[in-house]
Symmetry: D3
Subunit: 216 residues, 6 copies
């Protein structure tokens, strides 16, 4: 068996890392890949701007380069910061959660929708989808306009997720992606409420990483 | 835990099903989803034409409808026969191996190449990639022009795979997809030889299916 | 002179076939191709789902294969069921009415709109237009949300057609396609009302078929 | 019955008009639309440059405006000169032969090839196909590099057509368009030789025009 | 130093030419290219239709051919009339203002919006952007529905510009193009009001022309 | 008059900066914008990898943020490092030379070609063009496979440029972009040799920057 799947939370908010760790618990199977969740030391507390996103590239690359024991890497931020540099410093596969989330959504419906946390992140995500060549499959991306902290919390956030998810369905989305690493706890409930698949992008990336490690 | 991943070989060649079963052995983890490989009774011995491909749609749909215990389905033929109808008769996720293979390849490199078995299948695959909206990421699809039987066998097939894989790299492919359910035994060797990731599409589909079942 | 244009209604509703026959009467010219309208025995009464659409592929292919006397074929259902398989079993040209309708509309205006009968058919049509690579020319497709039977009837249906047609114009459509084989009787009236060309897709397909047969 | 289909040869070479007239003879059916072939007085002897093409726009528009009796118009030059202006000066449909040829080819195969007369016309055609949004379906356009006069003549031209047609097939073309109004006499022979459909664009445009007039 | 930048107003409204001349005053630098603004003798008073646009092609080409002393040309009408023919009759660079405006906007934001004068020009502009292959970057084009004369005047026009500019921003535009040669005097004020870059297309074209002349 | 155009060479090779300075001399006009060329302290000696490219983002952003007097910025590296972050830290326009070079080329011909220094940079450039949505206009990008140092030197480099430029023309390029900040001295000679426009991307960016500053 090759090394662990190293999931890196590029912000320095340890609670986000713990949330990822909890969400990925079900992916830890006896005999399967070890899944390790790390907090990037020195990252910003949250990645909310392009500068935040680019500021973590070098530390991410260093961390990845230092983990020669790893089997695969997941960068657990929906901006996929440094994905190209990270890939260039290791021979192991590196998965970004936006890329993985979008690709996994494309296996579930013709048009996908994205729930963004903030208005400001949409242009950044859109540039990445343009580069992927998949804008033709995007039904829409809509911001919740709540804070990352609020997004992880309870009922108010959920009601907002349902409201925006319904609007995405109206625009044609047959599947909805949670556009942030920290909304996973709402996935199953939202899927039930909306009646269409809801993708947690970190889980999507870890599933792809498992696929490469189990392939033999 | 939800039900098994039901992998359906839509042709009636039991040896192909046994090959799939062997390839997927490493994806069977204690506590993880059960992976069941079935042969579609009454399918053609091989799916080599559009008619072969369309001829299995109704039996596939019936089989899928009858397996209400399943957690997810994988249609293990690179033509993704009946993918839309299969999806319409179940609420469980259905993965086609072409779609899953292409999407998984898109997480590994900007441009992907496809190794087809026969010349005749390329137009069929191309129509499906057009529908997916991903032709802009295709570096090329080249036929081995060997029989399905030959493709599963030994060294001659492998030499041919390496030769065509090299040509795909020359055309810009940073990742190569095995364009048939029956070439999986060559995956690891070909990856080593070519120095770029090689995707077995059935494994890619099963990894995506596992992802949906483990998501909780 | 080569053989007849065989127009196949793939549902078993004989009244639809008779409607097609009436609509095509004006295309029957002395010395021109014979136009024959057939009902596919054993088809569903209406094609309203992907399963309905796929269920007629094999019977269609058999019928087409058996008519070696034909000069060309038209599959008169807007889902273009089995178009690829039908093309693979004959050397004669096979025209699908969605494909022909869309292509003919593209000769009339930069952006086209489609009047669908039901909401449920839009995703299916969209997949086909994606495969054609023409989604960039689509102004919109909107469902009338009436039954096929209602669509063929009188004034209420017409008022609804005008309303939805106006909305398509508002979205940029310079030409409107009737997205069903059974709305032809409204074509001329709707064209007058909307002030833009209205395409009956069966007529469009038959015109293309005539073109191939008259080419000599 | 509405008025005639007015086919306008925008160059002043009467022999080209006579050639068109002959090619369209088979489309003249009792009770069907009258097909009239005109030479544009004052056009250049051949349309070989962008300037030639644009120089005929105003005379074409004038001619079209003056023919209020017409049922439809066909501009019989593969550069589709003045297509937008011509459409703006009449309420009757106006068909360009490049546009009609390409759209008709798209009903016959996934990828089409074009046989151009001269190297210099390819960029002009490509701009038009870009505007149509169909470059993704183009397998290739290759110049014969013979004169318009030679293209209409005998065996040498035919051998060249076959050679370039074969090359287009090698590049993936499943249908071939004659990229000039003057090559129609080779259509049937070339189709037999290549084993794929060959489209004469003037015939394609006239078939579409007939379709609009017969629709009722 | 090569010859002047010849800016041609293809309509015969001398006041428009004088407006261009004023707007370009700031681009006239000692030692830099001379910028000359001409009125096309015999052009229509305004270019409001496709026919108007095409009617100036030959005179434009003649004027350009006659100015062998020029260093570069700018066609100062947002329909970019005759751009291809103009390029074919000179070895000097020819810039269209729509093309230059759109390309310059693409250097400022991911999505651009266009303020058109009249509804009727939008389809013409859209065809040109389709040909450029940039429709994927267009957030929207909206008509002011005022006359060219009004657009050049005072406060009412400005209020309308702001209103439509805000709507373009709502649709995602991060930069706004003035879709007419005559609105330049509002550029700076509108930029301040909207808070996003506003592009005057004539200035954009002249900047590109200067770039080619200064390159050495 | 607003502040200077600050052209930043993000590598620490002062000779490259001096080369830029020389190339831009002709753009310095009395009364026009001041053009200042800076070397980014602490950048790598050359930007040859994705890591090199990403390593300069934060220092670039800092430098830009500190120059509040500037009128516009040009990032003079063909990888356009940090373009998004740089734009987010200033209200002044920021031009990347790849983006500006490509957009300027699109004003000169339908298809452009790119002369890259090294094979390894092509994928990076391609991702950027994908994001721009302009891959459909790319005729090809071919590597000279010489060092940056060699590219700036004499006759051997020039012969290689001509050879690769000819190949780009063969693939359809009607304009050629020098895909590196350091090849400008060959621009004019190569343009003469190839007979098509050759774009130096730094000059293209500076021309666009001048355009924004002169607009008033």
């Amino acid at each position: 068996m090759t090394g662990p799947i190293v999931v890196i939370n590029p912000n320095s908010n340890v609670m986000v890392t713990e949330g990822l760790d909890a969400v990925l618990e079900l992916f830890r199977l006896p005999g399967g890949p070890v899944i390790e969740c790390l907090t990037l030391a020195g990252g910003p507390f949250g990645i909310e701007s392009q500068l935040d996103s680019d500021s973590v590239i070098l530390p991410l690359a260093q961390l990845i380069e230092s983990r020669r024991d790893a089997g695969a890497f997941v960068i657990a931020c929906y901006s996929d910061p440094g994905i190209d540099t990270c890939r260039s410093v290791t021979r192991r596969p590196v998965f970004g959660i936006q890329e993985s989330g979008v690709l996994s959504a494309m296996a579930r419906a013709d048009q996908f929708g994205v729930l963004a946390i903030t208005e400001g992140s949409i242009a950044r995500h859109r540039r990445f989808m343009a580069r992927m060549g998949v804008l033709g499959r995007l039904a829409g991306e809509i911001a919740l306009n709540i804070s990352v902290a609020e997004s992880a919390r309870g009922d108010d956030a959920f009601a907002k997720l349902v409201e925006v998810g319904q609007e995405l369905k109206t625009r044609g989305a047959g599947v909805v992606i949670l556009g942030c690493a920290g909304m996973a706890r709402h996935r199953a409930g939202l899927e039930t409420e909306l009646g269409v698949p809801v993708i947690d992008p970190t889980q999507a990336a870890v599933a792809m990483a498992m696929g490469t490690l189990l392939a033999g």
